[in-house]
């Protein structure tokens, strides 16, 4: 669907606004394909289009919301009526209201590869099959490829409001991912690898298959470590997950509602001097880059932590009004079926100068953590408690050694930020809200036998 069509639908909905009310329509459309290869053939092939509308109505400082999974005209009218009715039940709040144009120029990001729509299914199938073959062949200890997937999407969304917002953007994305099993005698280990881009031509099958094989095979022979307290080094993928959690504590919504451990720390040193941390959705290298936020305002580069000192938080229109500031273009939502909150889109830590090997070389006794398990169950971003399952390799006298598994690492988010002793130069733009790179964190408790 063309952007003009989505905007036209938004215009229509907003045109039905009654006196004294504000209306916002988010109109979305996406086309996607997913292919899973297994055992040399296509196991699953799905393709479909999804579309929908999410409507907010503000009346008398109360907001109501409704959504529908189609863009049929009669459904649009029904959905608006439902949102209007829902608005009668919210608490009247003087700060509630839709975004208004703020004069910040929208970045011109090239996130759309027009030729993706012409890529034949056969080419996508070939990529999935090639990935499976490469993963299987990557190492003699690889016993099976549990999944070899190709997926892509062409997505577009428009935000139109009665307050003058009228923005639309589209993007394409593609990725391949493999999950492999490595076997040695009775022991099985797993590893994953992937490659992301905006078009299948940008995908690297070799990297995806090699990473999967390496991650799986280097865990063979893993044992459970003894409990200890030491320095851990995070692989980029692990760091990205950790940074995503830190980013969530810097949402103005968390601050406003008394759920951020950093609420009144602006100007304080909350991290080690190595930490310079920004959220910049205008960076086209970021897979999660976007030129407008979920309320239709221009995204922008927001400095969060500079040399360890907290600079500020990420705002949407509501949090900004409540806290007497302006939106930082950080409205986010989980698709057209949800209302906007405030959060990060494309976090990044300023890289250091050392490659991972050099950081490892400086550590006498530690662990290189290759993956973590249970972030959603062992991390509490309000209390700051951080405790996750982990697997990785031991570090002794600056060298990576035997693999380790079935242990946890624990600390608190507040302490970890202060205890970051090294930041690597190996930035990886991952399909997540944060870029990854190697970091070393001191004084982490390892729980094992």
């Amino acid at each position: 669907m063309e952007l003009e069509q989505l905007l036209a639908i938004g215009d229509r909905v907003v045109g039905w606004a009654e006196d004294g009310e504000q209306v916002e329509a988010v109109v979305a459309h996406a086309a996607s394909s997913e292919i899973r290869a297994y055992d040399g053939d296509v196991e699953q092939l799905s393709s479909a289009e999804t579309q929908g509308v999410g409507i907010r109505v503000v009346r008398d400082h109360r907001v109501g919301f409704a959504y529908a999974g189609t863009l049929d005209d009669d459904v649009l009218a029904e959905t608006l009526a439902e949102a209007r009715d829902n608005a009668g039940f919210g608490t009247a709040d003087e700060y509630v209201g839709l975004a208004e144009p703020d004069g910040v120029a929208v970045a011109d990001l090239d996130l759309f590869r027009a030729s993706l729509v012409d890529v034949p299914t056969s080419r996508k199938v070939d990529l999935a099959l090639a990935l499976e073959r490469a993963a299987r062949a990557a190492d003699s200890r690889i016993s099976a490829v549990e999944s070899a997937d190709y997926a892509d999407s062409i997505s577009a969304a428009a935000v139109v409001t009665t307050t003058g917002i009228r923005a639309a953007a589209r993007e394409t994305g593609a990725y391949v991912s493999a999950s492999v099993l490595a076997v040695d005698g009775d022991e099985t280990q797993t590893g994953f690898g992937f490659s992301v881009g905006r078009h299948p031509d940008e995908l690297d099958i070799d990297v995806a298959s090699r990473d999967a094989a390496e991650r799986a095979t280097r865990m063979l022979g893993a044992t459970k470590p003894s409990s200890d307290r030491l320095t851990v080094v995070f692989d980029p993928f692990v760091t990205a997950q950790f940074l995503g959690i830190i980013g969530s504590t810097l949402s103005a919504e968390a601050v406003l509602k008394g759920r951020s451990p950093f609420a009144d720390r602006v100007g304080d040193e909350i991290g080690s001097v190595f930490i310079t941390f920004v959220d910049d959705p205008t960076n086209p290298d970021a897979f999660s880059a976007t030129q407008t936020d979920a309320e239709g305002l221009a995204t922008r580069r927001n400095a969060l932590i500079t040399n360890g000192v907290l600079q500020g938080f990420l705002h949407n229109t509501y949090t900004a009004r409540r806290l007497g500031t302006v939106s930082t273009g950080s409205a986010v939502r989980g698709g057209f079926k949800s209302t906007p909150s405030a959060g990060a889109r494309a976090l990044a830590l300023t890289p250091g100068v050392q490659p991972q090997e050099e950081i490892v070389a400086s550590i006498e006794h530690g662990i290189l953590v290759q993956s973590v398990q249970g972030l959603h169950s062992g991390v509490n971003p309000v209390s700051g408690d951080f405790s996750t399952g982990a697997e990785g390799l031991c570090i002794e006298n600056g060298t990576v050694g035997a693999p380790l598994r079935e242990f946890t690492i624990a600390s608190t988010l507040q302490r970890m930020l202060q205890d970051i002793v090294a930041v690597g130069n190996d930035v990886e733009w991952l399909p997540m809200r944060a870029a990854g790179l190697t970091i070393a964190v001191g004084d982490v408790t390892v729980s094992g036998s």
């Binding site: 999804t50 907001v63 829902n86 729980s447």
Partner: protein
């Protein structure tokens, strides 16, 4: 939801280019939710999602297409797309005679969500907010949420099976933040059932909110959890996630078939302590994971997976059961019409044992008592799994003492199962859960009596 003749024509179109199996899944879901945060009802939200997914299988290849266009033309276009995806050889039209499956609903619904005034839904939230804040001055923030959904499905396939279901779920959740000298702490608990608004005839909303507030207040006194391996007593009700992760996922037939489960090839062998009998039961009335038929049209079943510690069965979806020439188990589920079904759990629980739960604690010299678990995750190929503890206490000399800060516990499934040395007589089901697998979330229940694992690794920070 759809005319029989339309179904037949759509399935016929799906099989026009050949194929062993064709299925149409139609879903109409209406949901509504209201949230109170920071003393304000933020907004009432509601939505409707309606569409169909057509699946065609040729040999080992599955083609899938979904659409929100439920007209016959729209459905046949999706059927064509799915057929093309499965790349069958041309074979011609087929006619299929449909037979309606009669599967009993696990329970009736007394009060449908659409019959409740919106004002009533919202009024509950203020009651929870007031009750939680009154529990202690240290309670600085309360979030309350009420949600309901009605999901109607129709499934038909070329075996002639036609099934329908009408699933109503109602959920209530409260979170509290308490602030003290040690920083901030949270309490959280949800209650949810596959029933309508009658949930609130039985639930004391204020007491639920007070309980959550007390959780947060207690944790203000929490000390860092121990770090290391020691006995763990899991409290009844809240601890079922342990089994969901330790063996539940590992007993799903797709992981088994791909060689990605430590339970492969172990049917008939001892995989757990003889005190453990594990069941997955989609027929359990009112529980979060129950239904009349699964998302492939198969009636729900009660399946014993482990009996007295011996592995008796895996869980299957339609295609995998057919491939292995065995009976279906009613575990084929999908998040929505936009997703392909796969093997999923329903309500997974361990049967009550004989021990007195107080004796289990009293006979533990030093360890941790986990009263409420958060989520978890597992690597089915290695068997390593984690789960979080959201309310836990130290056990010292057989007594429950200091509250502990949150953290993850880690163990290896088969090993942990064999280290269960006491199972209590106090079975209870836990709060509603959302199980994530391969990018799809489905509602699940779990339950457990008080039990003890003689060794589990606690991911705390206290040496």
């Amino acid at each position: 939801m759809l005319d029989s003749s339309v179904i037949q024509r759509v399935l016929g179109t799906a099989l026009r280019t050949g194929g062993d199996f064709a299925e149409i899944f139609v879903e109409d879901r209406r949901s509504s939710s209201a949230r109170l945060d920071d003393g304000r009802v933020e907004e009432l939200s509601s939505g409707r999602d309606r569409g169909a997914g057509i699946r065609v299988v040729v040999g080992d290849t599955t083609g899938y297409a979904h659409t929100a266009d439920l007209s016959e033309a729209g459905l046949r276009a999706a059927a064509d797309a799915a057929a093309a995806a499965a790349r069958g050889a041309a074979e011609g039209e087929r006619t299929i005679a449909m037979t309606r499956v009669d599967a009993p609903r696990p329970n009736e619904i007394a009060i449908a969500p659409e019959d409740i005034e919106k004002a009533a839904k919202v009024a509950l939230l203020a009651r929870a907010d007031e009750a939680a804040r009154a529990e202690g001055a240290a309670i600085k923030q309360v979030t309350a949420r009420v949600a309901d959904s009605r999901r109607r499905i129709l499934v038909a396939n070329n075996d002639g099976m036609l099934s329908e279901d009408d699933q109503v779920k109602t959920l209530f959740a409260v979170q509290c933040v308490a602030v003290g000298d040690t920083g901030m702490q949270t309490g959280y608990e949800s209650v949810g059932h596959t029933i309508g608004w009658e949930l609130f005839d039985r639930l004391d909303v204020e007491e639920h909110a007070r309980k959550v507030a007390r959780q947060a207040l207690t944790k203000l006194q929490a000390r860092p959890a121990p770090s290391g391996t020691m006995p763990v007593v899991i409290g009844s009700g809240g601890g079922g996630v342990l089994f969901h992760e330790a063996c539940g996922h590992g007993l799903e037939a797709d992981a088994i078939a791909k060689g990605a489960s430590v339970f492969k090839g172990r049917k008939g062998t001892q995989v757990a302590s003889p005190l453990v009998t594990l069941v997955d039961d989609g027929t359990m009335a009112e529980e979060w994971g129950c239904y009349a038929v699964d998302d492939e049209g198969t009636p729900a079943q009660r399946n014993v997976l482990i009996e007295d510690g011996v592995l008796t069965d895996y869980m299957y979806d339609f295609l995998r059961a057919r491939k292995e020439g065995r009976a279906r188990s009613g575990n084929g589920r999908r998040e929505s019409y936009q997703h392909l079904p796969m093997v999923r759990m329903t309500n997974t629980y361990v049967l009550a044992g004989e021990s007195d739960p107080d004796d289990i604690v009293a006979s533990t010299e030093r360890g941790v008592f986990v009263k409420a678990l958060g989520g978890g995750s597992v690597n089915t190929a290695t068997g390593d799994f984690v789960f979080g503890m959201t309310e836990a206490y130290l056990i010292e000399n057989g007594e429950i003492t200091a509250p502990l800060r949150e953290g993850n516990l880690i163990g290896n499934g088969p090993q942990v199962l064999s280290l269960i040395d006491a199972v209590g007589n106090d079975f209870a089901m836990g709060p509603p859960g959302m199980c994530g697998k391969d990018g799809q979330g489905v509602p699940v229940g779990d339950g457990v009596p008080t039990l003890r694992v003689t060794a589990l690794t606690i991911g705390g920070t206290a040496a």
